[in-house]
Symmetry: C2
Amino acid sequence: MPRVPARPEPTVAAVGEFALIERLRRLVPATGPDVVRGIGDDTAVVRLSGQVLATCDVQVEGVHFTRDLCTPADIGWRALAVNLSDIAAMGGAPRYALISLLLPPEMPVSTLDGVYAGLAEIASAYDVIVVGGNVSRTSGPFAIDVALLGETRRVLGRAGARPGDGVWVTGSVGKAAAGLFLLRHPEVHVPHAGDLMAAYRRPVPRIEVGQALAGMEAVSAMIDTSDGTASDLLHLADASGVGARLDLDRLPLAAGIASAARAAGRDATAWALGGGEDYELLFTAAAAFETSTADLGRTLGVSVTRIGDILRPEDGRWIAGRGGSRVPLVPTGWDHFRDTEGQGGP
Amino acid sequence: MPRVPARPEPTVAAVGEFALIERLRRLVPATGPDVVRGIGDDTAVVRLSGQVLATCDVQVEGVHFTRDLCTPADIGWRALAVNLSDIAAMGGAPRYALISLLLPPEMPVSTLDGVYAGLAEIASAYDVIVVGGNVSRTSGPFAIDVALLGETRRVLGRAGARPGDGVWVTGSVGKAAAGLFLLRHPEVHVPHAGDLMAAYRRPVPRIEVGQALAGMEAVSAMIDTSDGTASDLLHLADASGVGARLDLDRLPLAAGIASAARAAGRDATAWALGGGEDYELLFTAAAAFETSTADLGRTLGVSVTRIGDILRPEDGRWIAGRGGSRVPLVPTGWDHFRDTEGQGGP
């Protein structure tokens, strides 16, 4: 029998700009009670009230993800997740997204469909409506830039930490870095590998927890751990004008990280300090907060761990290590230009 | 005397992500009475009221601009102008912008400073505050993606045109295409060349006119001429579910276009129909509007020209050409993937 030649997959160039927009519009319908105009006009029109949160973050192929480690749906999930995490870090409720796509002409439309499947999944999970966007050709890598709008009553930002406050973090840290290592080394088998890889590919933004924390008077400042625990604590300390001590032995490591680090020949605390991309919430709180931790665990199923203390500016910023050692707290996270993955820590 | 070697210009990679953000923050200060939090937190926090307009549009080097035809400041101007034009097309008032930059590591920081100078100039001219953004490295071309928020009372979109309405356009059309030709052919000298080239490099969004038109009950639908007069009239007719006739001889051509077209060996009406990037407002209005045109000219200094009529759906969409000829109205504008510059028209 003659072989049927494989039909080439249609590319985004073959589909063309306007048909592509129509296709994407069907994958994420822009409808909701407060959407006055969705996709298809010169701008979207939405109703928002009170203080509006606005943020944007881009995912670029080869910089933030690679297609051998992430499925198209993972890419779509991450593109919105990193923005959701920024809304979470302000204690806000996400509402509307704009999606800007830079597409290599030869990109298969099926890949874009996959990206939008992941995007639609996380948008639906967090009640986000995609109300607009644009597509453009590029001679460079595929990129997806998301602008996200939200609402909040209290503005809980990076400034506000006071000496004497505790430094806390939700969940566990270093898991995305461990997951990335495991994705790059499929020959390594460790317990909980699936959870660690999922932490990298499908980060879960802490929207509910962020809102709960913003509702507590004792909580004084907040940031998400996108750059790495050390870098992000420094960002918060800079904005608040305070010193800080990070207790190395208190860093909550997810199950499996120690085994993965041994297999990688690295120190798990280096991932925990500098890995970044965990999208947990790092926050500061006065002593009264201690009594709320059990409640948070029971109602939202999330653990919070005290990992240090806010100090007076003159007391500096440092890490309390093993056996009473003391090392400076320095940025060890991700810089998009220097491309140095966090290898910090003592 | 020994020659002093040229000092290499610092690149964005040498400056690094966080120093770059701090540098850009100084170039466009995010302050204003309704800015609760500007650049430096996980998200911006702004106060907006009523119906919020949200749009985004990207400019990619090699697709939307080239550095031999545009200065860095032109690129910054255009990046915001195209978004302002979308707000204008909805009759809105622009308020806040988020800027997402994709930067090749070897890009000189001085180029980025220039881009931001142009961006700051147009932002200041239209009371837009840059409240946030992000920077990322890319292995591809330089790109600047802008998300713009605005406010409006009346929502005047593409849908709403009724049979019997006139089709109108502000200013003149085809000038950006003529300007682009002249920029590419510096050996061609025609009168008004400077104005035509400026129309391409520094498009002027019709914010005030858009708001004035949205305040008039007779005006029924609106769009900006970003894709080209023919394409944009079709978009409007599609959204409104109507037919349309475009009167070729009524198209308002800017001074100098005819001479430039002769030098180019083209038909000026092809530029006017398909050129795109003019960022004029194309709108439809009931007969009562005729009496307002003199007022618009006097108070806002803008001319408006009736270029056709809205028809019943069954009467089709066509161009009334010279000597009673009749040709179908088809898209002749810009498709970002097909890369066909408008050459349409009879």
